[in-house]
């Protein structure tokens, strides 16, 4: 299991890997917003958490379609399907590696973008924390979508379209927890606990669904 994790990490860091592209996309998407809404700092700080969350959501969808397609293209997927190792576990490890390589850098870059959005320190901390807890859920859902679209030649866009509606709950609770941390009357913990629950839920459902889809898709 560890060997698969290390291999996937190596692949995403080596040339052509998606780790840098994800962060770059995230930064660019968030940086474009002030040009659209104008440099009104009060407005920016109000919409900041939402923008950072949406940017992170889009950026973490970027490399997802290659999660299984790359394995399928060179035949590795066949060998993984044949093993006695439960496929669910294989998928889970691949998700974790993918998140560590592409999701974690987004979390680490988010405070910097928070500054650009003129968010205060508490809001930045809250967004970073919610992203840390919530972004794995996106990867887990995405794994299921990627598995469904694995045999399609141009599945990349389809994966995004399939997954985006499913990530809406993650977005809702992530953003509402971030706002709750800033605005006094709303409590922070309930939406945050919900977010954590969603992530745990998808950590089970996502790999299960992905494994099922991969078995059904093999030909």
């Amino acid at each position: 299991m560890m060997s698969l994790f290390l291999r996937d990490m190596k692949l995403s860091v080596r040339a052509g890997g998606g780790a840098l592209i994800g962060v770059l996309f995230f930064t660019t998407v968030v940086a474009v917003v002030p040009f659209g809404v104008g440099p009104d700092l009060n407005l920016l700080s109000r919409i900041g958490p939402a923008i950072v969350w949406i940017g992170a959501l889009l950026a973490s969808l970027l490399g997802l379609d290659r999660l299984f397609q790359a394995e399928r293209d060179d035949g590795s997927l066949d060998l993984m399907l044949m093993q006695e190792t439960p496929l669910v576990l294989t998928v889970l490890v691949k998700c974790l590696a993918h998140w560590t390589a592409t999701g974690l850098p987004l979390v680490l870059a988010s405070p910097l973008l928070g500054l650009f959005m003129n968010m205060n320190e508490v809001a930045i901390g809250a967004v970073m924390l919610t992203l840390l807890v919530g972004s794995p859920a996106i990867t887990f859902i995405g794994a299921a979508g990627a598995a469904v679209a694995v045999t399609l030649p141009r599945g990349g866009l389809l994966v995004s379209i399939l997954i985006l509606p499913l990530t809406v709950p993650v977005l809702i609770f992530g953003v509402s927890a971030s706002y709750a941390a800033v605005e006094d009357p709303a409590p922070f913990l309930p939406p945050f606990a919900f977010l954590a629950a969603i992530t745990l839920f998808f950590a089970v459902i996502g790999p299960l669904g992905a494994a099922f889809a991969l078995r059904g898709n093999s030909d």
């Binding site: 840098l20 930064t27 040009f35 440099p39 650009f116």
Partner: protein, 253 residues
């Protein structure tokens, strides 16, 4: 590497990577020592000179902020010159130079943004402001990162060189925008004060540490750039020899 170093007779000899490696081996120690000395003097000066009566202690941030910002633009200009060298004269080391400079440029631009932010908080009361100067420097930072990603994405260095050279030249539009943004638009950022017509507008008390630090940062950049070019040449040799090794293994078998 104990190979004899061929003598440099004309400028075009620099195109020979072996000659360049020999030159690097001779020059870099001096550059490194000079950089260290200048930094020692510069740091001493920056912490002993007096604070500004308006800006107080924070004026010391200028001694790292301005050199970093200056380097971020100089590095891009060097990359643009290298890009011209690649496209027009097909100088074999030009694209190596551009590729080696990109991460350095990104690093110094990042430093300029960070220190600018740290300066802006006590002075303007905000970490970041979407004004013309700051935005254009941020765009420069994104361009550096994009170029790094682009250069890494190609397998074939020759193709990567041409494509990224075109992009570098297109992006060069940004440099004059950064330079003159403070004059063209009415912004929060203060206008240039060191280099302008009719002499510097800055008190010699601040000018001295600033110039020393700028020189130190510039030398640091050149030291690192030389070393990065050397690394890139080695990287290409490794890659060429690996291909050779693969071919030789075939012949033996």
């Amino acid at each position: 590497m104990s190979e004899p170093i061929p003598a440099i007779k004309k400028f075009s000899d620099l195109a020979n990577p072996t000659v360049f490696l020999g030159l690097t081996a001779r020059i870099v120690p001096f550059l490194a020592v000079a950089t260290a000395l200048l930094f020692a003097v510069g740091l001493y000066l920056s912490f002993t000179t007096e604070g500004d009566y308006q800006q107080g202690e924070t004026v010391r941030i200028m001694y790292v902020h301005v050199p970093a910002a200056w380097l971020s633009m100089m590095c891009y200009s060097i990359m643009a010159a290298s890009a011209l060298g690649t496209l027009v004269w097909r100088h074999p080391l030009a694209d190596v130079s551009a590729k080696a400079a990109a991460p350095l440029g990104a690093g110094f631009t990042f430093l300029a943004l960070i220190t600018g932010s740290l300066w802006g908080k006590p002075m303007w009361g905000t970490w970041w402001e979407w004004d013309a100067r700051l935005t254009s420097v941020f765009v420069l930072f994104l361009m550096y990162l994009g170029l790094i990603a682009l250069m890494r994405a190609f397998d074939d260095p020759a193709r990567a060189a041409r494509v990224s050279a075109v992009l570098i030249l297109i992006g060069f539009v940004n440099i004059p925008i950064i330079k003159f943004s403070v004059e063209w638009w009415n912004t929060l950022h203060q206008p240039a004060s060191v280099m302008r017509m009719g002499g510097s507008a800055i008190d010699p008390e601040f000018l001295r540490p600033l110039l020393v630090m700028a020189a130190a940062f510039t030398l640091l950049f050149f030291t690192l750039h030389f070393l990065a070019i050397r690394n890139e040449i080695w990287r290409r040799r490794v890659s060429a020899q690996r291909r050779l090794a693969a071919r030789m293994a075939n012949r033996e078998a």
